[in-house]
Amino acid sequence: MTDELKIGGREIKNRFFLGTGKFSGNEALEKAITGCDIDVVTVALRRVDDRPGAENILDFIPKSCVLLPNTSGARNADEAVRIARLAKASGCGNWIKIEVVSDNRYLLPDNRETIKATEILSREGFVVLPYMLPDLYAARDLVSAGAAAVMPLGSPIGSNRGLRTAELVRILVSEMTVPVIVDAGIGKPSDAAQAMEMGCSAVLVNTAIAIAQNPQDMARAFDMAIKAGRLGYLSGIESPVGTGRASSPLTGFLR
């Protein structure tokens, strides 16, 4: 039996999704992607840099990768929808990561605006992966609105504090019928492994790799951790079921 991850009708071969922001340079990014056979790569949309000789990031991302543009910069649903449409017009496919942040202090996603944007964009045929604050009700609404997956944050963007929201993500993993992909805040390979052991379908990592001394090696470490976590989950993580004798046996009366 194969361990398949299917999103938007496409089979995703690597559960390690890579973000491309904050890298020291495009070469470092390219090495990280090819070194790990990354399948899904996020990008952003910005006003184009018209300096002569400006590099086009797409030249450094293998054509076989799935591009996942995000709507970073959007402060409400309308802005997210606009960015999504622009991204689609650039010819990179119909996947979109909805990221609506109106709080500039913690950069927390606005679930309500995200749900609105999800509804509009999924009707337009986008494969929508919304970045969200882990909330079961919001997650259900996102799925009803047409989301192909949900992307709960592990901890605030860039904080690299790991899986602070583990308990809430665990609930989503139990209840969601779509893939749960942890995004934001994953700081160490062990954080990624933890997310996968819990049953998450994939992990999106950006900052931790981009700012590492050696991004290519760090990416490989994450790649291994994510595969290890997934294998551990599939094999059934066991904790001992009652070792030692309890002070009062509960089934002794049967004898």
């Binding site: 922001g21 990008v43 949309l45 018209d50 622009l86 650039s90 950006n206």
Partner: protein
Amino acid sequence: MKLKINGKDEEITDAKTLGDLLRQRGLNRPTVVAEHNSVIIARAALDSTELKPGDIIEFVSLVGGG
């Protein structure tokens, strides 16, 4: 004429269409998307989109992001 391009007011004298503007700036590549007064303009329509004073134009493209 005065146009707003990527958020900045600019005085443009030698471009009549969006296509002209793109070529002038070396942005005539498939991954650049042009938005003219909040409407996304398909590549095929760039040369037929005339510029008028007060137009708001955005040129966007994919860059690195998380």
